[in-house]
């Protein structure tokens, strides 16, 4: 039973990693760029929800606060693309990596100035409620995280596979010039996917904040999430979730069965092993060109 309990909380953690990784993958899938500020987007989303919802701040109803935070983060994502990333159109991938790393540094600094460096917690209606099945305790927050993540991954997967705009996004990443020829407004598509990633980051932020405290350095979770995205295979949405779950499960299990200090290393060790065995991740998206 103890193990089961551990697994469930690990799953919930893994879902949060998976959600951040989902943001990485979204942007990569549609623009071929990697947004290392994704973790900081999540941190901003969490702080915005906290500002909207907490009774000592604006005190809006929780659900309204969530919707507002997602909307604001979508706008932030859109603006980041329109103001910064768009100028880098056609530049090498590493240039955008460096740009987003510095953007993350600036965002963490701004969050520190606005909200301070003390850990804060979100007053969430989910906290503290639980269902007991025998000796197994299912927290409402854990269950919500798992359900929301599954629905979101499914929704985004269908969005990319079935809708016209989703296909346009994939086309825009595969070959920008050819996408232009086909009448796809590549730049607008890029801005849209950044907005989408901002919204997903906000959802991840809300779910993360529902489980624990947040402070500006929470943004560094993005590093672990990037490992999750790579384990799953960068560019694959189910892969991002899979990678997140693997990391989320391995952490508590290794600290319980191996040694406490090892749990920090395990996610990255798994990442390296996966990369050595399968250089493009578990659900590899890399295909050989048919000539």
């Amino acid at each position: 039973m103890d193990l089961l309990q551990l697994l469930i909380s690990g799953l919930a953690n893994g879902c949060v990693y998976g959600l951040i990784a989902l943001g990485f993958v979204l942007i990569y899938k549609a623009t071929e760029a990697v947004n290392f500020a994704q973790g900081d987007f999540m941190m901003l989303g969490a702080f915005l929800t906290l500002t909207f919802a907490n009774s000592n701040e604006l005190g809006l109803p929780f659900w309204l606060a969530c919707i507002l935070a997602v909307a604001v983060m979508a706008v932030v994502g859109y603006l980041v693309e329109a103001l910064l990333i768009r100028r880098m159109f056609g530049e090498s991938q590493i240039a955008i990596v460096i740009l987003t790393i510095s953007l993350g540094i600036v965002l963490r600094f701004l969050a520190g100035v606005i909200w301070g460096h003390e850990p804060q917690s979100l007053q969430s209606p989910l906290a503290g409620k639980e269902v007991r099945i025998g000796s197994l305790v299912l927290g409402f927050d854990d269950m919500t995280i798992i359900i929301v993540t599954l629905l979101l991954t499914l929704g985004l997967y269908l969005f990319f596979a079935r809708t016209k705009i989703g296909l346009a996004m994939q086309a825009a990443s595969q070959n920008q010039l050819a996408a232009y020829y086909m009448g796809i407004p590549v730049k607008r598509v890029h801005a849209l996917v950044w907005a989408l990633a901002g919204g997903v980051a906000a959802i991840a932020g809300i779910l993360f904040a529902a489980k624990g405290t947040i402070d500006p350095s929470t943004g560094l979770l993005g590093i672990k999430a990037s490992a999750a995205a790579i384990i799953g295979g960068f560019g694959s949405l189910p892969g991002a979730l899979l990678g997140g779950l693997i990391i989320g499960l391995v952490e508590p299990l290794s600290s319980r069965y191996v040694a406490a200090g090892v749990s920090q290393i395990m996610p990255y060790l798994i990442l390296l092993i996966v990369l050595i065995v399968r250089p493009h991740g578990l659900l590899s998206q890399v295909r050989a060109k048919k000539v």
């Binding site: 071929e32 590493i94 740009l99 070959n175 920008q176 090892v262 290393i265």
Partner: protein, 365 residues
Amino acid sequence: MRIVFKTTYEADIRLFKHGAQGFWYALLLIVAIAAPFILGDFLTGEATNVLIWAICGMGLMLLVGQSGQASLGHAAFMAIGAYSCVLLESAGVPFILALPLGGIITGIAGGLFAMPVTRLHGIYLAIATLAVSVMMEDVIVLAEPLTGGVNGLMAADIEIFGINFNRYGNASGLYWLILAIAILIVLAYRNIQRSPLGRAFAAVRDSEISAQAMGINVARTKAMAFAISTFMTGIGGALMGHFAGVFNQETFNLVISINLLLMIVIGGLGTIHGAFLGAVVIGFLPQAIAFARDGLGHLFHFDSIAIPGLETGIFGTILILFILFEPLGIYGRWVKIRTYFELFPFARRDMFRRQKSYLKTERIR
């Protein structure tokens, strides 16, 4: 305006393009050697720090700028260099042997790491190296009997042939020692650049497929780049450990890795100048910010404002501006200015214009 007319192969690979260039570098060398007499002990120490950063930066530059592999984890190799050098010293090896040995150990570690990961490209490689940097911090803590864990290790004073190079007792001596090491590494770097290996690096960077078609063993070239790069970085790390006196896993954390990469981008990717210019920015930015803050405080009569993390915030902003407006870095800007005057009045704005390009996916190859 000067036209260098190359008639032989030797003319093409000469260290200096023409005599005047040699003269300017000689002058720079004299200024660098004379610096401690002008700067005073505190600034000499800062300049030493800049030189150490530049050595580490050159290591990363060789990898990123020359062979086109991005690494977000070079602090891990700095750590290997520092720990192996200091541990060798405590085992009784003199510094003059321990430093190159530390570098070689780091180079071997880098080469071994590179062998499986040279198959990786772009972002996969960047995150794999990032993972190494994160892991190294925890590994250092876990390997406490060897590394002293969070308490860290203490580096003894550098002593060569009975001369003590204490950071405080003999600041200019330490500066000259590290300047000499930096110059040796610059010479090594330049010679690698004009050797077949350096040309292979450039070929692999520009196109792996065409490099392979020219008969270059891509995997071995990449692994070599990693080994040489980590050798230089390891030496830089060992020097940084000695300069800090006491160091632990925090001295070589992920932030250092990222700063190192950001530094060479600010300086100008692909050039030795870039490593030094970037190191100057990294080394003097904290002082400059503190100075500006105090100055503004005096001017407008408010108490010096203390915003935590202001330094990193400004650093990030400078970086964003550089990437957006001067992707070639400080050295790129300097080349543009120099070209303007060399060609005066024929320089045109569009000479350095980036060619329009459209990305294609790297997932289909």
